[in-house]
Symmetry: C2
Subunit: 702 residues, 2 copies
């Protein structure tokens, strides 16, 4: 049920009025808008009377224009209003979300050009969102953005949890450092990727998590990134001022705009309690309400996949090693000698379907099912896949019928290799092919450089592609899990068929040399601010050389940590990524993955510190059962929690999957304990977590 309160207050400013103030509903935040000398718009922000953002300039530099939108502004109008509604997400961490803010809309007019620009601020109890709006007008119709010049002036040399700014990849390990140390650490932070374009020694990505010396937590990101280039932040590390740095197109331009239009929201989430950052729904609230009328077909998905065996190098996506290259429609696979390592065969996939059916998984993802994988990226190849033609050893109909008979859904895989136009050309047929064969979810991929060459993964043109795919998928009632696509910004509120994204360093990197043990204690503070991640947890065999003797990678995580991820990394799409044989080997631990819910009525962040630990309890949708997850960084730690979130007077069976006393992400990752006990809302639990470890608890109502 929605409860909407909307009041509005109009105030006409005089031209020489240069200050406007706004408070958050709880009065903790105070936003000040000012015109600086020369009519430069600026804003500043305090939280509990502490300065968060020092006076920071606003504006945009235009290309080939006599006058940028940077200065010479007067304020001609200022409108404040209050908004309060509660809405129900199609899926989510909680059943209901309150969207409550005070708004200040400043209308600026530029002297000399008579151009109008509105800066709209929305101040929530968890932070600030603001954007630029360009209403219909005669003197500003089409314009090209050379750079957005939004500043975020920090108050000091905060600690940041950052990855390098990059136009083409988000798959870096996080570095924790002082802002002043970013420049010196940048070279080390930029590790190899199939497509990458770093741009500055002080350029970082959003969502950027920071902590001040007086223990304030600040998160900078954006919301509702639609028809605009993705924003990075470039640091002036002398003055500790971040400035927006958009992703360019092939011409080096940053945006092609047509009024009426608006930018995404620039977001600043702030608290003195790190748990509030994780619980914030501000990013979702700044997005438009759901635009899909019938959402009954959108469902959370727990799945397994023919995938980890390729990621580790045990098997291959490709069917043959015979051809130096592939030309779809020309290459005759029926005459090729199979390489013997191809994983996506009908028979092999059936064993996954059997496993999924036996253990109650909703779906099975199969990668490498379609022709073209022999040379799928790195060549600026345009016609790399057609998304409908299987390899000779993969019988789509037989697999579909078999899965259907077992009550399992197949999950489609569309790797595009970054060939945007090629994917769009085939999209209708590919989606129809899915519907014809019982698929209602697809994992998309954009590995390698974007084609046409010159475009980047996060430019306005490419972002429009992701949005096009998402909206077309909605037309077909298809759910999207986009890998290598632009990082999410809460668009899943508007299009809840976006059930997942990668857009960060996922579990696959554990098989590509490993990720930092505390990686999963940072991701919820950064990547997950914009939306759920298809992190693909659930790895039980940490020694990858056991799958592939040529791969010496080690998964820097304990089994208990892997289980906890199903709770700590909120996602309506959860994979059990390891091989069935490993789950069979540790079937008692596997029980948690089978039981854990995907959708929630409530979530309680119990403990949190970026890079160190996160503990969260979630109440399963439409049930009294709860699940708790804890992930830990590299320092061994004891958690003490009270189960006061449980319903009073009821008894629950708690099953605690925990690190064994001598567990360790590197030396002893498979050492876990499982304990069962009866608990109530008065029970307390003390639990140790190993380095790179954690624990997972199921709390089933008796």
């Amino acid at each position: 049920m929605k409860n909407i309160i909307f009041t509005s207050l109009f105030i006409l400013f005089f031209l020489n009025t240069i200050n406007a103030q706004l408070k958050s509903p709880d009065n903790n935040f105070s936003l000040t808008f000012s015109l600086l000398d020369e009519g430069i718009p600026s804003y500043s922000l305090t939280y509990k009377n502490k300065v968060i953002i020092k006076p920071s300039k606003l504006g945009l530099e235009l290309k080939n224009d006599n006058q940028s939108l940077l200065n010479n502004f007067n304020v001609i109008d200022s409108v404040t209003s209050t908004f309060d509604e509660t809405w129900e997400p199609v899926w989510g961490e909680v059943a209901k979300i309150r969207n409550h803010y005070n708004e200040l809309a400043i209308t600026l007019i530029q002297k000399g050009t008579d151009r109008k620009m509105i800066v709209r601020f929305r101040l929530f109890n968890d932070g600030l969102g603001f954007r630029y709006e360009f209403p219909t007008q005669n003197n500003l119709v089409y314009f090209t953005i050379k750079e957005e010049k939004t500043q975020f002036a920090m108050t000091g040399d905060h600690t940041a949890y950052w990855i390098a700014g990059d136009y083409d990849t988000q798959e870096y390990d996080y570095t924790t450092s002082k802002l002043s140390e970013i420049q010196g650490l940048m070279q080390k932070a930029v590790t190899g990727n199939a497509s990458q374009t770093a741009f500055s020694l002080t350029g970082v990505q959003t969502s950027l998590m920071m902590k001040t010396d007086d223990n304030l937590y600040i998160n900078l990101h954006e919301a509702a990134l639609i028809d605009y280039a993705c924003m990075h932040l470039n640091l002036d590390d002398e003055h500790m001022v971040f400035e927006s740095w958009l992703t360019p197109n092939a011409n080096g331009d940053k945006g092609q705009m047509q009024a009426p239009c608006k930018t995404p929201w620039r977001t600043i989430i702030v608290s003195d309690d790190a748990r509030d950052i994780l619980a914030s729904k501000m990013t979702l609230n700044l997005n438009d309400p759901c635009k899909i009328d019938d959402t009954s077909w959108i469902k959370p998905v727990k799945y397994i996949g023919v995938w980890w065996e390729m990621i580790t190098g045990k098997s291959s996506w490709s069917y043959t090693n015979e051809f130096p290259s592939i030309q779809l429609g020309v290459t005759d696979y029926t005459k090729a000698k199979p390489n013997g390592t191809h994983a996506a065969t009908t028979e092999h996939v059936k064993t996954y379907i059997d496993f999924a059916a036996e253990h109650g998984f909703d779906g099975v993802l199969v990668e490498g099912w379609n022709q073209g994988w022999e040379d799928w990226f790195g060549h600026a190849k345009d016609y790399v896949f057609d998304f409908v033609t299987p390899y000779p050893d993969f019988d789509v109909k037989a697999v579909h019928n078999y899965a259907k008979s077992k009550g399992v859904k197949m999950i489609m895989h569309h790797e595009t290799s970054g060939a945007i136009r090629n994917y769009e050309r085939h999209l209708d047929k590919a989606f129809q092919f899915m519907k014809d064969h019982g698929y209602d979810a697809v994992k998309t991929g954009y590995v390698g450089n974007i084609v046409p060459v010159g475009e980047y993964h996060y430019s306005q043109w490419t972002n429009n592609h992701y949005q096009y795919v998402l909206e077309k998928a909605a037309d077909y009632q298809i759910m999207i899990n986009g890998h290598e696509a632009v990082r999410p910004t809460g668009i899943c509120r508007t299009y809840p068929n976006l059930i997942g994204n990668e857009s960060a360093r996922g579990t696959e990197y554990q098989a590509f040399g490993g990720s930092k043990p505390n990686h999963v204690t940072v991701l919820p503070f950064t990547r997950l601010i914009g939306g759920p991640m298809d992190y693909t947890p659930g790895i039980f065999e940490m020694d990858i050389s056991k799958l592939n003797p040529n791969n010496q990678s080690h998964v820097n995580s304990t089994i208990a940590n892997q289980l906890a991820l199903y709770v700590t990394m909120y996602s309506p799409l959860q994979m059990a990524a390891d091989l069935p044989e490993h789950y069979n080997k540790f079937s008692d631990a596997f029980q948690f993955i089978k039981e854990v819910a995907l959708d929630w009525d409530d979530s309680k962040y119990l403990e949190a510190e970026p890079g160190e630990y996160i503990t969260v309890a979630r109440k399963a949708k439409g049930s009294n059962n709860w699940f708790v997850g804890n992930v830990n960084g590299v320092i061994p730690r004891e958690t003490s929690i009270t189960l006061d979130f449980l319903e009073k007077g009821k008894k629950y069976e708690a099953t605690i999957y925990a690190d064994a006393r001598d567990a360790h992400f590197y030396d002893n990752p498979q050492a876990y304990t499982i304990n069962k006990m009866t608990v109530t809302n008065k029970s307390k639990i003390k639990q140790i977590s190993a380095p790179g470890g954690g624990f997972a608890i199921s709390l089933i109502e008796k």
Copy 2:
């Protein structure tokens, strides 16, 4: 009926053998392939023992590669063969085309890299075609072309009929000059266009027509431009050597190649008789045979259109002047005040349909029927048209039904404004919309810069788009008339649904300030070498200010010249471009446009000199009737022709539409005479042509 003779002769060369020769079937041409020092491939060409191409280097410069494909080659194989077949075009200047050539295929292997490259030469009686081929191999799979380095070394300072090389437009007036004069004239030659990117002071476009001091005619062009960048020629005007200059992509690269692959054919048509250049079918012959199985739906089209009134500024494409800009799906046209100048209204179009029905035209083109024309180009706008949503005053169904009741076909118009992706996104729906409403031909347009910005009109990526549209249109049984698309290279043999292209300066420029009076005596030697042009002739009112007082343009042509164009400018698609009221005013002259055929059993080029005059006689398909056309340059001239092409013993009624004695393209363009007489194959006709004039004759069997 096809008559195919195919013999092949294999000769294994020794590595130090550096010469291979090939003769044309009639022995007039001699081609020599040689390896120069350092293993550089080269070729030279003679015609009747005169050197046409001096030794010229062959090869390609690669990007990011240790070794380009320029030198260090050995010849490892050489194969000669003969081919002779006769094929029947779906439409054309003649009923049957002989494809007769001797072929030499030189297989080169590069020392050090073991890379293979084949240079395939085909020597016809009208000239030479050659291309590079890259067979499947291990050491050359994917490669990026930095530049193709094919040389055409001229023997002297020839006279050239040229337009400036440009990545985005072909719509320039031709300049006649010595090669050495190109550089000095370039600045004047580059006139304004909505999208243009010149690249060199000595860069020119193909097809390039030249004449030597000893009266040899040489034409350089390309054939079968598929999956490759369009070639320009850059002149070293010290040594008179042309070198290929491809159109780059947004990165500045010239080609993304994947072996096995091949370049288009580079063509050199040569004769000592200019008429042979016009009659050459070599460009068609170098293209693949028709790939459309059922071609019964492909038919020549004579049409009128709601078009010239917008081109002249008398009417508008747009519906309203109220909005500073349009956003499709957002802008509500029903609330807009009509501007009163919109031409594509249901009622107005019906008057065109009436006129078409009364005078026997096949179709009516309507531009400006769909929403979006208020700001359709110049803004790098992506979503500029959706190709299915009409303006409020254009009733698609009513127009369709009315046209159908009158036996007239509507011709669709898809202006893309260069937004490639947007057109492809809408293509299926747009084509289905056409089929649903009885349209089976579409004029496409690419005005303005290509979107995504950075790409050019003639790059490999953009050329692939035109080909994609053409092939998809064939799937829908739709004929394509592509404007602003890349110049044709004979692809209409393979896809005869490509019934027209603009790709040069068309009649519209007569309303944009005028074209040179001799323009139409050059086009058949240049632009038409690759395929038919939708030149849109038939203008009877030369004073454009009579249509629009604000437009002082003058059509530099006489009415007789306009009539002749239906014969001299071969095309299966011919427009009568002027307004119905002007045809009603000169209904006797209009009679020729009504009668002239569109498809031919035979064509005889009777006289020809580039820039000066062309006289051609054509025999109507399946009939004994002939039509003769003469266009003249600026010097008054008398033509003397014998009608010996007429069938012996038969009588014909000749109707001669000619310039009056005092006619002149500028001072007196509407002065014409019409004479009728009975003629036989022994008759001679003497006829004067005024400056910018000509004559047209219908010869109807009695």
